[in-house]
C-alpha cells in the first residue's frame, strides 16, 4: 500500500528535523521517500493534500487509565486506544489500578494482547506492590519481561518509605522509574483543594502540603538510592519548586502535568460539578502560575492526561461522593496548544518534546524517527485549527469531562503507526 502526505511541515526535535513544505511517501507502513515527490511516487497511491499541516513523531501519553480488566463498562483497552488515536496519540502507558491490578505478568500480557492489533501502542505500567496495597513488592522482573515500562501504585503513593526504598533499589536493576501519585495518606480524603474556596463551598479540603510531603520524600529517596522517580500529575507550587531544585542537583526525578492542572483553578469547583473533581485537586492561580513556569524552564518534562473514565451514574453523584478523575485523551492536544503554544509559554519544539519525546525517554521507549526506511509512527497536527469540544464525538466509552463545548485552538488531524492510519474517524491500512 502506498500513501502520500502532500505538502507538510516536518518537525522532530529529537533528530533536529525542521523541514517545511515537503511530501512524504509511505509504503507498507515505512517512510520510503521524504522530499519532492515525482509522478512515479504518487502513482496508485492514496494522496492526502495536507496544505502545510505539521507532521511530528507520534504523540505519547504516559498516564492513562484503561479500565480493562475490571470496569469494561467505563473503558476497554480498545476503546481507550480509539480515544488515544482520536486524540492524536500513537502510544500510551496505562496505569495498573485495574481489577485485578497489573501486579502479575499475566495481567500485563493480557493488556498487551488486547492492544496487539491496534494502531496505538499500549505499554502497561506495573504495580509497585501486590494489589497496590503497599505491603509486598510485585514481581518486578517478571512484569518487565511481560512488557511493563514503569511501576506505580497510582491512585495512592507507595505506602511507606521502607517499601519505596526497596522498590527503587530493585527497579534500578532494570533502569525503570517508579511513578508516584504524591499524597500523604493521613492528609488525604478530602474533596477539593484547601483554599478560600473550600471554606466558601463547605467541602472537605485536601491541603497542597499532602502532595508536597510525598514529593519531598520521593526526591530524598531518589537521591539516596540513585534511582528514578517520576512525579505524576504535579499540581502544587511547592512541589514544582522542589523538583526544580532536585534537578539542579542531578537527582533522577522527572515530572508530568495534566492539561486540567495547567488550565483550571479551584474556582471552577463553585459549580459543584463532579466533572471538576479530581485527585490531585485543582489548585490556585499561584500553583498554576508555577506550573506554567515549570513547563517553560523544563522542570516539568511532559504533559499527560491522567485519562480516568468513570460511568455517568458515578459522576452524577453528590460532589463529595463522586469518584475522582476526568477523561483527557481527546482534549489534551487542544488544551495544550491553546494554553501553552498559542499563549507563548512553549515553543513548537518544546510542545513536541513534552507531548511525544520526553515521555518516551522517561520510559526508555525509542522515539520514532521521521527518516527514510523507518516505520512511520507520526501524528498530523493542525496547530491553528479552531474547534469546539463535543463529548458526543469522543471515542472513549466515558464522557466525564469539564471541557465539553470549550473552544480550543490546535487539533490532531490523524495518526499513522504500525502500517495503519487513523484519519477522519476511521482506521485503515496504509
Amino acid at each position: 500500500m502506498k500513501l502520500v502526505l502532500k505538502n507538510v511541515n516536518l518537525l522532530n526535535p529529537d533528530q533536529n528535523l525542521n523541514q517545511e513544505n515537503v511530501s512524504i511517501l509511505i509504503v507498507d507502513g515505512k517512510f520510503k521517500k521524504i522530499g519532492n515527490l515525482v509522478d512515479s511516487d504518487t502513482n496508485n497511491a492514496t494522496v492526502l493534500e495536507l496544505d502545510g499541516k505539521l507532521v511530528v513523531p507520534g504523540l505519547f501519553d504516559m498516564h492513562v487509565h484503561l479500565r480493562e480488566p475490571g470496569r469494561e463498562d467505563e473503558e476497554t483497552v480498545i476503546t481507550g486506544c480509539n480515544s488515544a488515536a482520536n486524540g492524536g496519540f500513537t502510544g500510551i502507558a496505562c496505569m495498573p489500578n485495574t481489577e485485578p491490578a497489573i501486579d502479575s505478568a499475566e495481567v500485563a500480557s493480557f493488556i498487551k494482547k488486547q492492544a496487539a492489533n491496534h494502531l496505538v501502542e499500549v505499554y502497561p505500567i506495573g504495580a509497585v506492590t501486590i494489589g497496590r496495597k503497599g505491603e509486598t513488592l510485585s514481581p518486578m522482573a517478571e512484569l518487565k519481561d511481560a512488557g511493563v515500562v514503569a511501576f506505580s501504585d497510582d491512585g495512592v503513593s507507595v505506602k511507606t518509605a521502607s517499601i519505596l526504598k526497596r522498590a527503587l533499589e530493585y527497579a534500578k536493576m532494570f533502569n525503570l522509574p517508579i511513578i508516584e501519585h504524591c499524597e500523604d495518606e493521613s492528609l488525604a480524603g478530602g474533596a477539593m483543594n484547601e483554599s478560600i474556596n473550600s471554606t466558601l463551598l463547605g467541602l472537605p479540603p485536601i491541603p497542597s502540603v499532602a502532595e508536597d510531603l510525598i514529593v519531598m520524600r520521593d526526591i530524598l529517596m531518589a537521591e539516596y538510592t540513585d534511582s528514578k522517580v517520576h512525579i505524576a500529575h504535579i499540581s502544587s507550587k511547592k512541589s514544582v519548586e522542589m523538583v526544580r531544585e532536585a534537578k539542579k542537583k542531578f537527582i533522577k526525578v522527572t515530572a508530568e502535568v495534566t492539561p486540567h492542572h495547567f488550565s483550571l483553578t479551584d474556582d471552577v469547583v463553585k459549580t459543584y460539578d463532579p466533572n471538576v473533581k479530581m485527585n490531585p485537586p485543582l489548585r490556585t492561580k499561584a500553583d498554576v502560575d508555577e506550573i506554567i513556569k515549570g513547563l517553560k524552564d523544563g522542570t516539568i518534562d511532559c504533559i499527560a492526561s491522567d485519562h480516568a473514565p468513570h460511568s455517568l451514574e458515578e459522576k452524577e453523584m453528590e460532589f463529595e461522593y463522586a469518584p475522582n478523575g476526568i477523561i483527557g485523551l481527546e482534549t489534551e492536544v487542544g488544551l495544550a496548544f491553546t494554553e501553552l503554544y498559542h499563549k507563548k509559554v512553549l515553543t513548537i519544539e518544546q510542545m513536541i518534546e513534552k507531548l511525544s519525546i520526553n515521555p518516551r525517554k522517561i520510559l526508555n521507549i525509542q522515539v520514532p524517527q521521521i527518516k527514510e526506511g523507518e516505520t512511520a509512527n507520526l501524528t498530523i497536527l493542525d496547530v491553528d485549527a479552531v474547534w469546539t469540544v463535543d463529548k458526543k464525538k469522543f471515542l472513549s466509552k466515558s464522557v466525564n469531562t469539564p471541557f465539553d463545548k470549550k473552544l480550543l485552538t490546535g487539533k490532531p488531524i490523524g495518526v499513522i503507526n504500525k502500517n495503519m492510519m487513523f484519519f477522519e474517524g476511521n482506521i485503515s491500512k496504509v
Binding site: 483554599s195 453528590e318 460532589f319 463529595e320 461522593y321
Partner: protein, 306 residues
Amino acid sequence: MPLSNRHLLGLKDVSREDIQLILDTATTFREILERPIKKVPTLQGKTVVNLFYESSTRTRISFELAEKRLSADSINFAVSGSSVSKGETLKDTVKNIEAMKVDMIVVRHAAAGVPKMLTRISNANVINAGDGIHEHPTQGLLDMYSIREKLGKLEGLKVCIVGDVAHSRVALSNIYGLKTMGAKVSVCGPSTMIPKYIEELGVDVIYNIDEAIQENDVLNVLRIQLERKAREYFPSIREYSRYFGIDKARLEKSGKDILILHPGPINRGVEISSEVADGTSQIILNQVTNGVAVRMAVLYLLGTLN
C-alpha cells in the same frame, strides 16, 4: 417587591433588600402565629417536599409546620443514608419526586452543594435546609431575626460566632447574612476549628473567649458536634470547655450584658454551662416560633414568585 432569586441556596449572594424583605415578612407571620387561628391560605394548592437525606428533627418539624401554617401540601421524604448506600442516584430520586409535580423542595443533605445540584435537575424552587458544612440559610435568617427582635437592629452590631466554625453549616450563613446587614462579625474557637483563609471573608479571628465576650454585643455559640469527627480537633472536652466554654464566672467577670444565641441542642457543660443555659441572662435557645415564622416567610416569598 419580590425576591430576586427563585431559590434559597445560601445567604452568600442574597442582597440586603432581600434579607430585609424576608425578616419583615417574618414579622408579619410571627404575629399570625400568636392568633387563635394560625393558618393562612397563602400557599393553598402548592406542594412542598421535605427531602431529608440526613436526620433532623427540629429543622424538619419547623419547615413542616411552616408549610402547614401556609396551607401547602407537604410531603416528607426521608432518605436514610446517601444515595450511594441506597443504590439510587440523587438525580433519580429527585426526578421521581418531580414526577409528583412538586412546586418546592426543601433539602437537607450531608454533602455540600446538593441544593445547587438540585436546581440543575429540577424545576422546583429549592430551599437549602442545611448542606454538609456549607450553609444553613434559614438558620442564619432565624438568628438574625432573633437578634433584631432583641436588640432592635443588626447594623453596627458586633457579633462573634463561637466554636467549631470549620465544621458548621450555620457559621457561613451567619457570616454572610450579618455582614450584608452591616454587622461586624468575628469568629472565636480553637485554631484547628477555624477554617483556613476565613479572614478573606472580612471577619476577625479571636482565640480568647474572654476577649470575644468583651468586644462583642452578641455571641452565637455553635454546638460542638461530639458525635462527628470534631472530637479529633481538640485535645479533650475538658480543655475545650475550660478555654472556650461560656459559664457564669466568665460572664460576670466581663461585667456586661451580652446576648447569647445557640442554635441548639446544647451540650451542657461543654460550650455553655447549665447555669448560663438556665439562667436569666439574655440567652436565646431554640427559637422555635421565630424559626417557623422565618421559614413561612421564605416559603411564602419563593412560593408566590410564580
